[in-house]
């Protein structure tokens, strides 16, 4: 099958139908766990965790061992050669020569992409900073599918820290692609990042609607919803829905309430954070009494802290411990497929609600850098060998998406590599939003982070530079 020898860096690396095939295999494996032993005999998985983790690491390792494979593992950056100043690329090349498959967790966003680029063996992203955590999303979707028997036409509410949770970001893209309706219920100040919202509204076929005022007024019977994303698979076009209808629609029932904890470790511990913690919304018995939650699966990627009350644990709607347990068959299936020790048939069952766009690539060494300080492309050990690389995802305004961490930036100044050939005095730069700029062919485009940068490269301001 097509998945053999591929990587799983983002959830987009696997299509809806491939996911369905993987889940079928996971079902098989869960039903005959013992007979999978031997499937990966003689194979070695490298389990590289440069950030704290118990469950994800142990889950991957247990999955590999249940397949009869073996594991070498490195935990914590302090005990590794990265502390000696080694680059991720070097590490990837070396470990890739020891192991047959690599599982990597790393605090830098985009790190898993770099490992995949250099390892020479299949790489699975087990979380790269705040970027993605695609196997968690696979376990999440597998849990829903197991209970609901389908992944079509889902209504999913996402609860808590939508800003920092990589788990959430992977899940959102997968849900949007599957044509789900998504309700966003963030804690205060923990709304989805702009780049995720933008991507939702430009690349998936649904519609995003803010509904901050949904719960104001005398009727506050609904749980707090910040925004709604609805794909055409749902019976109504969002545009046609007044707020009141959203409420009616929601009351029809939420398939899953996906709770996440405050991602403390992605923030500086401050006084504000203490405040945030106090205001963090809690899912408890009381909340779950709402009609819209009558048949809702309560989910959580774990570990939880206080955002999901222990009193809910014994509720039959609670799925989070099952969700963790499903990590074993899902990861077993994934590893077996990537290593090519199990083949799967892929049927065409699911539509994709994502627009497949091949954005042009921008990788000139013109001084533009990813704006995310936590991006792998901005780290001292990595800049020695890699240059920033972007996809041009929009021309108006001119928007670059980092290929590593997928953060976006708006280009301010541009030039053409065509014009200045000939006379030196023609080497000019323009404002990115000028009509002149839009005429530059993508292949000729030069993008500057600032006017200083442009001038440092001997370009002069054109009349299309607005200040």
């Amino acid at each position: 099958m097509k998945l053999t020898n591929r990587n799983l860096v983002t959830i987009d690396d696997v299509s809806n139908d491939e996911m369905e095939a993987l889940f079928c295999l996971a079902d098989d494996m869960a039903n005959s766990l013992d007979s999978q032993y031997g499937l990966c005999q003689g194979k070695i998985m490298a389990s590289l965790f440069f950030e704290p983790s118990t469950r994800t690491r142990l889950s991957f390792e247990a999955a590999m061992l249940r397949l009869g494979g073996r594991v070498i593992s490195a935990v914590d950056v302090g005990a590794t050669s990265l502390a000696k100043g080694e680059s991720i690329a070097d590490m990837a090349r070396v470990v890739g020569s020891y192991a047959d498959v690599i599982v990597i967790r790393h605090p830098w966003e985009g790190a898993a992409r770099v490992v995949a680029d250099y390892a020479g063996v299949p790489v699975i992203n087990a979380g790269d900073g705040g970027h993605e955590h695609p196997t968690q999303t696979l376990c999440d979707l597998y849990t829903i599918r197991k209970q609901r028997r389908t992944l079509k036409a889902l209504r999913i509410a996402l609860w808590g820290d939508l800003r920092h949770g990589r788990t959430i970001h992977s899940l959102i893209y997968a849900l949007a692609r599957l044509g789900a309706s998504i309700l966003f219920c963030p804690g205060p100040g923990l709304e989805l990042p702009e780049h995720v919202l933008r991507r939702l509204s430009t690349e998936y076929k649904g519609e995003l609607r803010r509904c901050a005022n949904l719960n104001q007024g005398p009727e506050r019977e609904l749980f707090p919803i910040d925004a709604v994303y609805i794909t055409p698979s749902s019976p109504h076009q969002l545009a046609m829905l007044p707020d009141i209808s959203v409420r009616v629609e929601l009351k029809a029932g939420v398939d899953a309430l996906y709770v996440t904890r405050l991602q403390k470790e992605r923030q500086a511990p401050t006084v504000e954070q203490q405040e945030l913690k106090k205001k963090y919304p809690v899912v408890d018995k009381e909340l779950l009494k709402g009609k819209e939650f009558a048949k809702t699966l309560v989910m959580h990627p774990l570990p939880r802290v206080d955002e999901l009350a222990c009193e809910v644990d014994s509720d039959p709607r609670s799925m989070y411990f099952k969700q963790a347990a499903y990590g074993i068959p899902v990861r077993m299936a994934l590893i077996a497929i990537l290593l090519g020790t199990r083949d799967v048939a892929i049927s065409r069952e699911y539509n994709s609600f994502a627009q497949k766009v091949e954005h042009p690539v921008y990788k000139r060494d013109s001084g533009v850098k990813c704006c995310n300080t936590n991006c792998v492309s901005n780290q001292e050990t990595e800049t020695k060998y890699m240059r920033p690389e972007f996809r041009i995802v929009s021309s108006e305004p001119l928007t670059l998406r980092c290929i590593y961490c997928e953060h976006e930036l708006h280009a301010k100044y541009v030039a053409s590599s065509d014009w200045h050939q000939g006379k030196l005095e023609n080497k000019k730069y323009h404002s990115a939003n000028s009509h002149w700029a839009r005429k530059i062919k993508p292949g000729n485009l030069i993008i500057f982070a600032s006017e200083d940068e442009a001038q440092a490269q001997q370009f002069k301001p054109s009349s299309y530079v607005t200040r």
Copy 2:
């Protein structure tokens, strides 16, 4: 056999005869180490060590691997999700869904009990704070049995830090149950904790005698003994023994001298500790020249520091490295039995010198907490889902033993849940030691930690409150 799917949290979880059966299996396994490979094929052990350890962890892991099983392991609290504020119960549930058996070491007393309560798979306590370390005791007893061919009528001297050593506590209960005589030789200020002494004198059929003055006077030929515990299996009743006879009896020979190091890590490092270190009693060639040690097995759970001189290493009486090596067959046998991959026959050979008492349970939410700050039931992450729980081990004075850490506390104020039904003004509390208090049926008993607590729950002082 009955041990399958059980837990080993305290040494009391296995009876004398079950222990004998386990040791027979360990003998078998030691004799044909290679042919055990395959016995646990396809099984996974989770090895969770939230406190420093080499030998115990490596010993468990090696044992599982020699059985053909596999291991997933997490070391150190810093690198795990517990650092994210997760409860032990959550961790246990998740890891229990990955592994077939869990081995846990944790700094909190009673932590292994909680893991056993929630994991859903057999749990082995590899040391929980200063509470217990039952597999060490199994290795200790196996070593003695291997050399002495029986565990009956033993005379064992315990040396060093009897206060903080969990190893020592597990061993004492096992020895008492087996009917051994125990000589306590603590370092200064390192005597057995009160709750262990109390338990010895109330639940086992022997007699405890302080003999602080045993070595005073002109004759100081004996090593320093603080107390003696003698069970009826020994020829003399302790009550009949004057001090001088104890000395005569002892000179007849000690079967094993069990040395322990100062448990630095359970104490704040202070000036006093430095002092303690200097005064800590040392076992060396000179001491072992005593007649009573002529055939004594010199034992130590290791690691040792200075309390056992290296000059003793080559002495044929030294058993400590063998003792460590026996950890492999003993733990192999234990794992195989708990996983049900080997069955054993249990004969009736040993008497138990412990009184099997079913103490009534007290688990009302009345404000009484375990007095041990290191108890799992007092930790912030755990109080969210668990309430304190005790056994009422004595009524005069009213004594509660924490079911987690087994520390004891004396109840001060009580009430009855029966009396105040009816009129509110009858809701009264009494001193626990009043005769009125003793009339309350265990099922109706309410226990308060303080008068404030009682009054906070709308109880008023009765005339049976002494101040």
Copy 3:
């Protein structure tokens, strides 16, 4: 074969011909990696890393797993019983009773020797402080042999930190023994330690020549060479070579350029170190344009920092990632041989260019200590059971080499155990360099670290004490 049940503590533990046999087996294994699975089934390797490492540890573990064996591992001194004050000897004895082979990395020089002395199973040194790292050397030589098809008559340039690199020291002895010519190209202040130089010039059959001025004057076309070591296998005797000829000879080509990074972790981080880092020589495309490097293998033990430019990675001469990958078959072969699960035939192909000298041993408890503060024999936990031990490697001046870390010291004062028998007033000590001192038979020699030490042991100064 003779290697079964032996240790690999220093590269001298394996002869040239044994090394060749090991490399042949590694070739076999690399060619049929999958069919090696099962060779070490049921065997356990203990992987003990008390210093940061990724690649070496993972490489050893992957090698063992590919042989079908199992691994128990301990990483980092913080999480182990060594933190409780345990000696290395105790740890070795215990782990030796769990595992069939031990791999040890430790920050103290000579630690691996101690483990080998006490473990009772084969021990492999995976790096002991700045002392040796023999398996790295095996991988290095295997890489060269793989590319050059022989290890005879090599010309190898060593680049960078020659002072602190254990890798370098093991490699130098192996090269000298194989009859290679070695060019030393240290960074400023990072020249080879004296004891390594001395050993080169006394125990191997070649000649060492400083050539600090080689590159002065108008012609600076050569890379910076500090010293040259040439064995008789090369066409010219070094003594006959004027500087100019060295340059001519070198231009004929270097077989391998072995680059090492600055060993930060072996030095206090200081301002000077920052300076050092700036001045550290870099290998880049420009340097490799030199004629002498036209066919040179560019090697590095990894991890690298800045001393080897990433632009070289795609150069076909770059061998460092292959070198890392070869770690698997080389270590597989080594483990299989030491465990006796594969037999190899040893032919007589290589000459040894080392003089096999059996130096007399000195192990009196006379107060002489190894002068290396990082030597295992100087550590508080170890002095309890071990005494310093030396080989007398030269009598003029009287030179002792520590058997643990191999650092050397010059004895200052000596006496004879013969003379003072009889009259006490004859108990006299002498200057080590007096002619009287030279007459003392090695068996009678007493060596003092200082006059104070001599006098403390009731010796009086003789007239052969110069001040």
